[in-house]
Amino acid sequence: MSEDRKAVARYTTAARINHWITAGSLILLALSGMALFHPSLFFLTNLFGGGQATRAIHPWIGVVLAISFLGLFFRFVTLNFWNRDDTIWMKNLGKVINDKEEGMPEVGKYNAGQKLVFWGQSILILLLFGSGIVLWDVYFEDYTTVDQKRLSAVIHALCAIGAILIWIVHVYAAIWVKGTLRAMTRGSVTRGWSWKHHRKWFRQEVEKP
């Protein structure tokens, strides 16, 4: 705990638990969903106790994700509204991925890339939840037509691929930008990290009484 004096608090324990429930269910959903999406990945159903079990359990994990993500959404939505600096940030994306951020506007708690991850996942999970309900035959088979089910299958698969791609970006960013992961494991980041990546947020934190 000796380091704590120098650390900057970034996520509360509740936020971190909320995040990891979402992360775990998203990974399980991706594995079970991909198993039923592509024949080459059907073997993944063994992780869930076979094809029938995978088909039965996938929607329930979806319910967990939906509730959990809703928690994250309301926790972070006000921090993710787009502003003019975000547009400048996006225009300089080339500089960002080359780690040459000098002269860029100072970033608040979230940069534009993180905000796009937030909004992308929010929209995709909403669509996944809606189309998933239509495909959940055990309970909702009788409420939709077969054409609506077909459309839902297409939407569900497209959105799932989109969400997996965003997830890859999200995870890679945490791997690439050193010192990031501890925000979600320990809840705090270093002063240097805060200065480099989220200076505007850091200033606000420092100003706090």
Binding site: P39, T45, I161, K178, W193, W195, F202
Partner: protein, 300 residues
Amino acid sequence: MATLQSLDIRRRSASTEAPPQVRQGSLEVAKLIDVSKCIGCKACQAACLAWNDLVEPVGTFEGSYDNPPDLTPTSWTVMKFTEYEKGDDLEWLIRKDGCMHCDDPGCLKACPAPGAIVQYTNGIVDFVSENCIGCGYCVKGCPFNVPRISKVDRKAYKCTLCVDRVAVGQAPACAKACPTQAIYFGSKDDMIDHAEKRIIDLKSRGFAKAGLYDPPGVGGTHVMYVLHHADQPSLYAGLPDDPRISPMVGFWKGVMKPISLAAIAFAGVFGFLHYVTKGPNEVSESDQRKGDDLAGRKGT
């Protein structure tokens, strides 16, 4: 059912392995249902239940002769009665509904469970229930609205074209039971020949548009109808005029699969290459100092 040999498998759902091809020249079979000869006695329905050892629960009266009102997980064939009025003329169109055994089966295309749906070289499309996971994708793939998911065991069921009888040289139970021989069974070529004779007869009796229903949109079917009004199949309790696998299913089960996996693989490879070429994004000594300065100034 899977009573034919594995040598006789032409297609297998969700499988990338090539099917066996050593056996050549298998005969394609077909069931021909002559709607003009059907009297609606439902012997075929009874025979289907008896042969397959199934019991349809007692239902409720729905105001028509259709009983049960639609296909169910146990009733794999159902007579559909349509009262067709044309001027003063009333025609009672009775169609035996059930799996059409498409040459290009949408159910098989949509199925994600390896080997849950097979198509034999004789054209019969069969559900192998032990491999079925109950996802209902076959229902979405089918252009004829045939498969039914059981509420008891969550598995899909439909007509097997009595593959177990056909394998030992017998006609399907429904064909055997039909008292007016409205249901024929044999090689697809013979059935087409026979249908042509029936169509000539029907045309001579005033049904100018009589014809064979063997829809090309699904590659033809192994259950065909002789219709008195072949120009309007939908008269017969909504038989599709031009059935095809839905383009949504075609996209979902076609190009989307390889493109999606490629996109995911590309994202992973891009990340890896980015890391090994650019190196990690680390906080420098000077950032650390400036961070400490900012925090320190406020006396934290």
